[in-house]
């Protein structure tokens, strides 16, 4: 089913959709564009190629309390807590964002035990993808077989036809969005198609890369590659597929809460053990682990690269140490072969 709406009518659409639950849209917040629940007066930044922080935070928030405790002498009371995740809509995800959700699903929902915190948000959130007409110079989603104009897994696929937003419902849930929008949407004449965007890829040597990387763990290229790393964690913060988290308690002896929050394998204390031993003692091991996780370990476990070519790590790294550099440094010939 295909329907459409003129750009001028979008504010009324947002208002209608947000009545039933949070409607996450890319909105400007300071210098960034972030997925935030729509509130009256908010302007959706649907023209921006990509949100600064990936929409993974809709399903896997930066921090999330899940347990409250009270202690009274010997007694300990534990109670689950957290905001209930009711129906929500995520509107304006790009194809790369959708692929990233698919990859996070493998970690959080695809293996036992399933992650309940992620799962309930994911299950209750409708995904509306928006075709990407103009890839950023740092985008390379094409390298991973992603089509910017088509996002498998979306409940609704949307694209611009001039000033008209055309939407195709692809699931029953997507059709429910059309029903909720009611008369705000017009019947759309068949024939409109998302524009085929320019291909974005950097000619990366990805063929058989996980297999080839098996022999590159001790490659001297890592010694050069890691050196600039400042351990700022920006790459992991912006990466749509990074899923490492920390668990911490907060409170007094009497009461408090336990939360989880994003963590970064780039941080020196990430693997530091209480006794002082650190299995990844320098930035070299940490950088190597991050890239091999994306390019070898994740493919070994799930048969997919854990990179979607969104380019966020290219744009965020202060020293230009990104995954493209790593693929180029480690993906080609070995030093011996040269």
């Amino acid at each position: 089913m295909i329907k459409s709406i003129n750009k001028a009518g979008l504010d009324r659409l947002w208002e209608r959709l947000a009545a039933a639950g949070p409607l996450y849209l890319p909105v400007k917040e300071g210098p960034a564009v972030l997925f935030r629940p729509w509130a009256e007066g908010a302007a959706a930044a649907l023209d921006v190629t990509q949100a600064t922080v990936s929409p993974k935070e809709i399903f896997f928030p930066r921090d999330e309390t899940y347990l409250k405790f009270r202690r009274e002498g010997e007694k300990l009371a534990l109670a689950e807590s957290g905001t209930p995740a009711g129906p929500a809509i995520a509107f304006g995800l790009r194809s790369c964002d959708l692929r990233a959700v698919e990859l996070l699903d493998l970690v959080f929902r695809g293996q036992e035990p399933a992650d309940a915190l992620y799962g309930r948000r994911r299950e209750n959130t409708m995904l509306v993808a928006l075709a990407c007409g103009q890839p950023d110079p740092s985008c390379f989603c094409g390298a991973f077989g992603i089509n910017p104009a088509d996002a498998p897994g979306a409940d609704v696929m949307a694209w611009w036809d001039g000033d008209v937003l055309v939407m195709e419902a692809r699931t029953a849930r997507g059709e429910a969005l059309f029903a909720a929008a009611g008369e705000l949407l017009q019947e759309s004449a068949a024939g409109s198609k998302p524009l085929a965007p320019a291909t974005a890829e950097f000619g990366l040597p990805l063929e058989d890369l996980p297999e080839r990387l098996k022999s590159r763990f001790y490659d001297p290229a890592w010694d050069r590659l890691y050196r600039g790393c400042l351990a700022c964690g920006g790459c992991t913060y912006f990466c749509p597929t990074c899923h490492c988290f920390d668990v911490q308690d907060y409170g007094s002896q009497e009461r408090g809460e336990r939360f989880r929050c994003w963590d970064s394998c780039m941080f020196g204390r990430f693997t530091l053990m209480a006794g002082g031993h650190n299995p990844r003692p320098t930035q070299k091991e940490r950088v190597r682990n991050r890239f091999l996780h994306k390019l070898q370990y994740f493919p070994e476990n799930f048969g997919r690269f854990a990179c979607v070519g969104c380019g966020r790590c290219l744009r965020s790294c202060p020293v230009n140490l990104d995954i493209v550099q790593a693929i180029r440094a480690l993906g080609g010939e070995t030093v011996e072969q040269r």
Partner: protein, 275 residues
Amino acid sequence: MNSVNPLVPQKVTLLEIAAETPEIKTLRVAGEGGAPFDFRPGQCAMLSLPPVGEALFSITSSPDCRDSLEFSIKEAGSVTRALHALSPGQELGLRGPYGNGFPVETLKGKDLLFIGGGIGLAPLRSLINYCLAHRAGYGHIDIVYGARSPADLIRRAEINKRWPAAPDTAVYLTVDAEFPEWSGHVGFVPSYVSELAFTPENRVAVTCGPPIMIKFVLKALEELKFTPDQVITTLEMRMKCGVGKCGRCNLGSKYVCKDGPVFTLAELKTLPAEY
């Protein structure tokens, strides 16, 4: 609390806390119905004490003991320090069991050589007591155990009396240096293993201890012609989730919390040595 969220602990009560050494205490905990879950020797569980936090420990009791779970814990950081300070009656959080555990089925019919150092006896003890409780299933049992000093040896009643008295079982104790009160063997665990010259025929070695001890034990076993699939060890890593998602404890594509903590040396040789 039966939660669908695997990170939510259930409640247990500390029944007993006993000092093993100046740095190690054994905590015995139980839920209302006894041991809160079934497990395999070598599996781990996350103990939690809000607001200090959670940490993962191997379960040192045998699965045959169904009335409680025991953890032998060395004081090393904030959680272990807080756990050491507790008194019986205190309620705690617990979740698990986590990990693969020792391969009790494939070990059947084999002679077993346990090699432990310091607190490294804790995970081995679960398997030793399991094998002794199912004695007919396993061959001859040798236990080599050492610590820095006599005061650092744990589970004294078992290493001195119960295990040496068990059928077809031998215990070899050693400490790193001479002590006035010690009349037993003096020397490091790896060299004691070499000295005792165990033969590899139909035998599997199971070892746990400080990284430096494991390193030299593996070397000693190799010199005694043990093959990599005849050597089993159990690893320790920093963990937060226990279920393969928080990203801390991986060796290559394997997560120690979920795919380990028990690995054969043959398996470890295929993985990055980041442990």
